[in-house]
Symmetry: C2
Subunit: 293 residues, 2 copies
């Protein structure tokens, strides 16, 4: 039993073993406790629903918001216009606070330490973004209910997506600076592999993490798509991610499903390093065998 | 050759190998490149020199400053009154901006995203700290030259210390919440082992990292102290750090000098894990042999 619950911010007394166990999916050992780093809760939130013309604008808006708030950006969620349309169609009791033909929306949530400053700071961020040509239009939540509606629109995307039908799903990340390029090129890639497919894209731009889901082309049954053409879509999307130095599993992990694909896509040296560590720490392969590696 | 320069904020495709190489002092491989995470430069800094009655007040002041600024604290440096006295005595062209009999000073540097807000935010932080009884007195730098003087006082501590004479030095950390307890108990510990020794303590409270240096008692030669009684002081200080779940090397590393002590103080399971990783990645022990492990 190793106790790694030190809670130290600085410690230079050896290898940072803890990081190896995080995300290992139990293949190196069983984690029985965690030590959390806490941050003060912001005194107030200012929430806005912003129409942007492109993912590039969204990434630039994020950089502007971080710089102007000293990093007090609690959430920055990108939603495609198509995904928003599905929410408005399939989820009860929602409406678009900002009717716009712009192809993308951003949910911008600032968590501000000084409650009196939350609104003025949001206004200044949006004014600067407007001036820089990064924003088509924006609605600022005037009260808690309006802020909750904006969050509901974002959080209902997976529900609306299930109501819409089957899709192949990708939990990918790229460096933040390449999110816009990924979305542009992925759109072209999908259309060339599966013409007519709809794309339901949403995600955490600040982490470079996009949930990029692709529905069947019109007329093709969902199950048939997922077992056939959809596999080729996934291969093409993951090829693009790999080319952009991204990850084919930003949040969800490898498990059994992506094990072979991960081994195939990762550099041989990295897989060998991981296997060497696994053999060293679990020579009898007793820890969650058959996962990850 | 493994390329770990991914720059991804989220990646769940295996073990986080990069963290293992950081701080391994070359014992697992040679690092030839680094990928840096950058933050926007604050638009303005507000710097204050603050007199506090105890390390406990300093830790509480740090928590208050972080909460009131949304984390926009660029530096929070604690300096003991004794260390400050050495600087005033041995370093030319400095003066104390805040004559005070308080036993500790804090250099508080806020890096604020909105230049116009830097001064008002500093004023509000200090007013709230005064009201909470955390601050004895404070001077806010009115211009760049005054801010530089405050930084010079802090940065001259190691120079003044060398001018003062030999000392045994400790680069230790504890959880931030135990810094005050460490300083209180370490003072008692040192006096019981080496009565009359002066303590030169300074450091980065936000990281729980204190440079805790102890000079010879009056009348004892520096070299004699460092080779004799000073070793017992170090042992006692490190015993206390270990008891507080701290680190005997926060920044400086293990190298050859602390290798045996580190192996003795760390839990056996942790040393065994580290050795297993070392054997797996460097079976012939060619990478910086004799260091760390």
């Amino acid at each position: 039993v190793w106790n790694g619950l030190s809670g130290l911010r600085k410690d230079n007394t050896g290898y940072d073993l803890k990081q190896m166990f995080i995300g290992a999916e139990g293949t190196l050992g069983v984690i029985t406790g965690a030590c959390l780093k806490l941050f003060p809760q912001p005194a107030a939130h200012a929430v806005a629903w912003v129409a942007v013309a492109s993912p590039e604008q969204a990434v630039d808006l994020l950089a502007l918001a971080k710089a102007r708030t000293g990093g007090q950006v609690s959430a920055f969620e990108l939603v495609s216009g198509f995904a928003l349309g599905l929410v408005l169609q399939h989820v009860p009791d929602v409406r678009d606070p900002l009717p716009s033909s712009a192809p993308w929306r951003v949910l911008l949530d600032l968590g501000i330490a000084d409650a009196a400053m939350a609104e003025p700071i949001m206004e200044r961020v949006l004014a600067a973004a407007m001036e820089a040509g990064l924003v088509e239009d924006a609605a600022v939540a005037g009260n808690q209910a309006q802020a909750q509606l904006m969050w509901k629109l974002r959080e209902s995307v997976p529900i609306a997506e299930r109501a819409y039908g089957k899709a192949v799903k990708h939990d990918v990340s790229t460096p933040v600076s390449r999110v816009a390029e990924f979305l542009l090129r992925a759109g072209e890639t999908v259309q060339s592999v599966s013409p007519g497919s709809a794309i339901i894209a949403f995600g955490h731009v600040g982490d470079g993490n996009i949930h990029y889901n692709v529905s069947p082309p019109p007329g093709l049954d969902g199950d048939v798509f997922v077992e056939g053409l959809g596999l080729r879509v996934t291969e093409a999307v993951h090829d693009l991610v790999t080319q952009l130095d991204g990850s084919i599993s930003a949040e969800h992990g490898i498990g059994r499903l992506k094990r072979e694909e991960n081994a195939r896509r990762k550099a041989g040296a990295e897989i060998e390093l991981m296997r060497a560590v696994k053999r060293a720490l679990d020579p009898d392969n007793r820890m969650n065998p058959g996962r990850v590696l």
